[in-house]
């Protein structure tokens, strides 16, 4: 405070049953203006005071900090049913104060004060939210199925351009990143297998290990993760922004179902494209394994290829492809669901995008486990 030659000052004077507060100096927010509460706490104020009077003869400059002080004073005075006398304040200050007061008064409804809810309340709220989310998920599945049925009987108006665009985005456009990731996963698998199997002197099974792991698990999962991050997020943000701009409303009021028009093409596009990308991913993974086997185990390429095809069969590949088609549906489903339920704001779009990715990853992993159980029961 000593840095400033002139700071805010107060003087208190009791004049009969009138409490006079004199405001002086410069009242600025960054000059440590006093708070009214502290001021009241410090000064011993007699109980029989009936009027609070403010004077500002020595006041030099002021900003909102003074306004804030005055408002606190007014609330304090009103709380003790004192007269609040601001007649001696400069004109502008008085008017400004009145305006602040009025804004507070004209608020129609004050939102419930949200303090810290109790533990039980939190648990209850969360449970309700989970149930509500569950029904939202289920509803959307139903709506997509209905929309698909409408398409089958030729009643749905689908936007094929969107379908092709979804296929392009999740297919050709995603190949570089899917390729790189799959290749590296293949390399990693091969290193692990070579080390682990080498301990038992059976490095020779490396091609089998890489091929089976890629085709049955890693190919579909890695592709699913990349597409969830790329395409699923894009779906959520596109549809979410359309919702914010009322474009979805504009479709609805034309009698066009946004499900048929926007969601269905994306679901169909991804369910077709994902298995195709997975085939590519499998191939790149196996090539990665081949490279490691060649370098580390000195295994000829022909042997590697022969071993690979000896150990996987059509069922394994089909298993992975069916799974990945389901992953495609999940990604499109999660992306569209989050987009359609997006809040109408730009943060809403961001949240929708994030939660689309999280939802699809979660569902992909869950679906993958279910597939693992089903296939193990039927011993595929």
């Amino acid at each position: 405070m000593s840095n400033y030659p002139c700071t805010s000052q107060l003087e208190l004077e009791e004049n009969g049953d009138i409490l006079v507060i004199r405001l002086m100096g410069v009242w600025e927010m960054d000059r440590n203006a006093p708070s009214f509460q502290e001021f009241v706490k410090k000064g011993d104020i007699r109980a029989d005071i009936s009027e609070l009077m403010l004077e500002a003869r020595g006041l030099e400059e002021w900003d909102s900090s003074l306004l804030f002080f005055l408002n606190q004073a007014k609330v304090w005075a009103d709380g003790r049913s004192m007269t609040f006398n601001c007649d001696c304040l400069p004109d502008g200050l008085g008017r400004m104060m009145l305006q602040t007061q009025r804004v507070v008064d004209s608020r129609v409804e004050v939102k419930d004060p949200e303090g810290h809810p109790g533990f039980a309340e939190e648990v209850g709220k969360h449970s309700i939210r989970i149930f509500r989310d569950g029904s939202v998920f289920a509803n959307f599945v139903g709506e997509i199925l209905l929309s698909f049925l409408r398409l089958l009987v030729g009643k749905a108006r689908m936007r094929w351009v969107d379908c092709f665009r979804a296929m392009q985005d999740s297919g050709p456009m995603a190949l570089p990143i899917v390729g790189l990731i799959s290749f590296l996963v293949g390399v990693t698998l091969a290193f692990q297998a070579a080390d682990l199997l080498g301990d038992f002197g059976s490095e020779f099974f490396t091609p089998a290990f890489v091929a089976l792991a890629m085709v049955r698990e890693m190919g579909p999962i890695m592709t699913g993760i990349v597409l969830a991050g790329r395409t699923g997020a894009a779906f959520a943000s596109t549809i979410g922004s359309m919702k914010v701009a009322e474009e979805i409303d504009a479709l609805r009021t034309l009698g066009v179902s946004p499900l048929d028009y926007l969601v269905l093409p994306r679901v169909i596009g991804l369910s077709i494209m994902t298995p195709l990308v997975v085939i590519y991913s499998n191939a790149l993974g196996i090539i990665g394994g081949m490279l490691v086997s060649k370098v580390k185990l000195n295994m000829p390429v022909q042997t590697y290829v022969k071993e690979t095809f000896l150990n996987i069969d059509a069922t394994d590949i089909l298993f992975g492809l069916i799974k990945s088609s389901v992953f495609g549906v999940i990604i499109a489903y999660a992306g569209c669901l989050r987009g359609m339920n997006c809040d109408s704001s730009s943060t809403g779009v961001g949240r929708a995008t994030t939660s689309a990715v999280v939802t699809s990853l979660l569902f992909i992993i869950v679906a993958n486990s279910i597939f693992a159980v089903i296939y193990s029961i039927y011993e595929i």
Partner: protein, 254 residues
Amino acid sequence: MNKVPHIEVKDLVCAYGDYLVLRDISFEIKRAEILVIMGRSGCGKSTLLKHMIGLREPAEGKVYYDGKDFTSSSEAERESMLRKFGILYQGGALWSSMTLEENVAFPLEEYTDLKRSQIHDIVEMKLSQVGLKGFQKFYPSELSGGMRKRAGLARAMALDPEILFFDEPTSGLDPISSKRLDDLILNLRDLFNTTVVVVTHELDSIFSIADQAIMLSPKEKTIIGCGNPQELIRNSGDPTVTDFLSRMGGRQPA
């Protein structure tokens, strides 16, 4: 003449979940009448509009068009009613992945059996009506806010609707464009007997186009004034309405 009001809203209650927005909303609009829904920000004007066009389902009450129940109509009935609406949304709500031409053509492709060339001609005509001839191949993102709004209007007018709904049509437009839009609304009404519902709080527009106005209040959550704005300003009896229409009569807000 037909005695049945073109639009009738009866005992409408609008709520978002438990949160009541509006209650006891009842009014009628005759054919070829221009109704303005006005009120201060946050009073539920747009919400009321959304309930009228079926984007939100009322908590209670009904909306009738030509005496036909819209609220509890079947899907097919509702579709045939929606076909007669033209709606201009606040930001235009053009589909961003389509060009202006595709945007305006969409309702025509959806509801008519016109040939491609015919649609092309109609689109050109509608776009020139709103002063956007030559912009057919532009995407919405390449246009200014005002142009998007006008293009939205061209799309709303594509099917020669019987009822036009406007959600804050002149907000964000310069005075000249606002005036043009107001004139266009009046022309549409005079030429095609279009019934028009406008949500706005722009006084100039209210006084130049409205046959009838209803004023909503966030405090009472219902209609607090109803009638021709010229008469409302003189004898509504409610100071809130008079203050609104006269910009507080030039007084300092008290």
